[in-house]
């Protein structure tokens, strides 16, 4: 993820006037993953989830899938563990689990 100094563009390769183009994808920036400082991970209990999608709707980083079949799967490359999804869930299906309890 971290670029080596030699990999940065030369002054000729850089865009004029500090203009930075968005990456040409419809979604999160694949070059800039921001979930590294997360301490709590949201985990959904399938037995409690009523698939209302509030977690997907409220996620401030849009890092939840809109697919109800995956229980609105979290993209852990971007989730910061803020806990908004757990807070808004009406059935309390989402628990925030300490990252140290996960192997990966």
């Amino acid at each position: 993820m971290t670029k080596k100094f030699e990999e940065f563009p030369t002054w000729k390769e850089m865009p004029v006037g500090l203009v930075v183009f968005a990456p040409p994808v419809n979604g999160p920036n694949p070059h800039y993953k921001t979930g590294t400082f997360r301490t709590l991970r949201p985990v959904t209990d399938p037995a409690k989830c009523n698939k209302d999608g509030l977690c997907w709707l409220y996620c401030p980083d849009s890092c939840r899938s809109s697919d109800a079949e995956t229980l609105f799967a979290v993209n852990l490359d971007y989730c910061k563990g803020c806990g908004v999804c757990a807070e808004v869930c009406p059935t309390k299906a989402i628990s925030m689990i300490n990252e140290l309890e996960f192997k990966e």
Binding site: K3, F8, M14, G17, L18, V19, V20, A22
Partner: protein
């Protein structure tokens, strides 16, 4: 084409109008005020279709200009002295973001003590801001330089500051030849510039440049202003072919065989030339060198014009307290450092805060340059007209 009586400020306002600017954001300050006053009149009368943004400060004025310029608009502002100083941090953003803003700076002394009169301390304090700086010596030159500025700025994507001396030029009425608007439009056509804040694209502007990025970005400005020399030369040439007035980076007056010369900037050049004329009649081989383009600095022209002179006086109208020399002298000395046979340089300071510099003062300066050549070494900086 018509010949009209205009003040230096009105000449600049007419140039901005004829260049059909899209956005004007400015805050009034003496002696600049009548430029934006006239432009607001043009907008109010429907003679100029432009967005005229009234702002609460010069800092906001230039900030608004940067934003407007990023949308691809042709942008103009004007200021003086404290106003330019208040724009200081935004000046560097304008060049770093490569916004082709044109600004008239009506030169005025910096406070304290409060002083509304003319010297060059405002512009000299901003010489490292990455702006192209043009200097003018008449209302006609102010008009012409403003027109050229739009073309230069938009070609090289750098902001251009057109300097004219407060009151001496800004409020003095002179005959000015105004070209037909159609000819001006051919010279500076409204071309669609890139809209860098279009919602059609996802861009980030004004981002953080960490240590891995900042250096390269700043070098882009260095490269752009170095390359602007070529473009300025081309614009001067095209201006001459269309309007018949020829401009160079440096105006050399009677320098072909000159032994002694005085380097000046701005409106006092006229007095220096008149004095040089008189001295020539007395058999003195004197000339006057006036810098029209201060940034990029015309090092090569300075070398070729001055290398054969015996003595050169440099007249600064700004101070560098505690420095080894004052700003213009430092530039001239640096330009001549690399050549083996160089003229003896004498530093002068004159005309601070609007103090008159008379023909007798210029005569004395020429005389002193001749004296120090005889003595073989320059004297410490001479503060012309200072009560001691």
């Amino acid at each position: 084409m018509k010949r009209v009586g205009l003040s230096g400020n009105y000449a600049v306002a007419y140039a901005a109008k004829m260049a059909d600017v899209d956005v004007i954001a400015a805050y009034p300050i003496t002696p600049q005020t009548t430029i934006v006053e006239k432009l607001s009149e043009f907008v109010a009368n429907g003679e100029l279709e432009a967005e005229y943004i009234n702002v609460e400060s010069e800092h906001s004025a230039l900030s608004a200009c940067v934003g407007a310029s990023l949308t691809g608009a042709r942008v103009f502002t004007a200021t003086s002295s404290q106003g330019l100083a208040y724009m200081h941090e935004v000046l560097f953003m304008a060049s770093g973001l490569r916004t082709p803003i044109v600004m008239a700076n009506v030169n005025r002394a910096l406070s304290a003590p409060l002083n509304i009169w003319n010297d060059h301390s405002d512009a000299m304090a901003e010489r490292d801001a990455g702006w192209i700086q043009l200097w003018t010596t008449s209302a006609q030159e102010a008009f012409d330089a403003t027109l050229e500025a739009f073309k230069i700025a938009e070609e090289v994507l750098l902001p251009v500051m057109v300097n004219l001396d407060g009151f001496i030029l800004s409020h003095t009425y002179e005959p000015v030849i105004l070209p037909d608007e159609s000819l001006v439009k051919e010279f500076v056509p409204s071309k669609p510039m890139v809209n860098r804040v279009s919602p059609k694209f996802a861009y980030s502007i004004g981002v953080v440049g960490p240590p891995e990025i900042y250096y390269e970005m700043k070098y882009q400005v260095v490269d752009a202003i170095e390359n602007s020399r070529k473009k300025i030369k081309e614009v001067n040439k095209e201006f001459c072919s269309r309007f018949g007035r020829e401009y160079r980076f440096v105006d050399a007056y009677m320098m072909e065989d000159a032994e002694y010369a005085l380097v000046t900037m701005g409106a006092l050049t006229g007095t220096a030339r008149a004095v040089a004329n008189g001295l020539r009649k007395e058999g003195e081989r004197v000339g006057v060198v006036s810098i029209r383009c201060f940034r990029p600095f015309p090092k090569e022209d300075i070398v070729s014009i001055l290398e054969d002179a015996k003595g050169v006086g440099v007249m600064d109208r700004a101070l560098t307290p505690g420095g080894p020399s004052n700003p213009l002298f430092a530039e001239i000395a640096t330009a001549l450092y690399d050549i083996t046979r160089r003229p003896l340089l004498q530093s002068f300071v004159a005309g601070l805060g609007g103090r008159d510099v008379t023909a007798d003062d210029f005569k004395a300066m020429f005389g002193l340059v001749k004296d120090v050549v005889k003595e073989g070494r320059p004297r410490p900086c001479v503060y012309v007209g200072l009560r001691e």
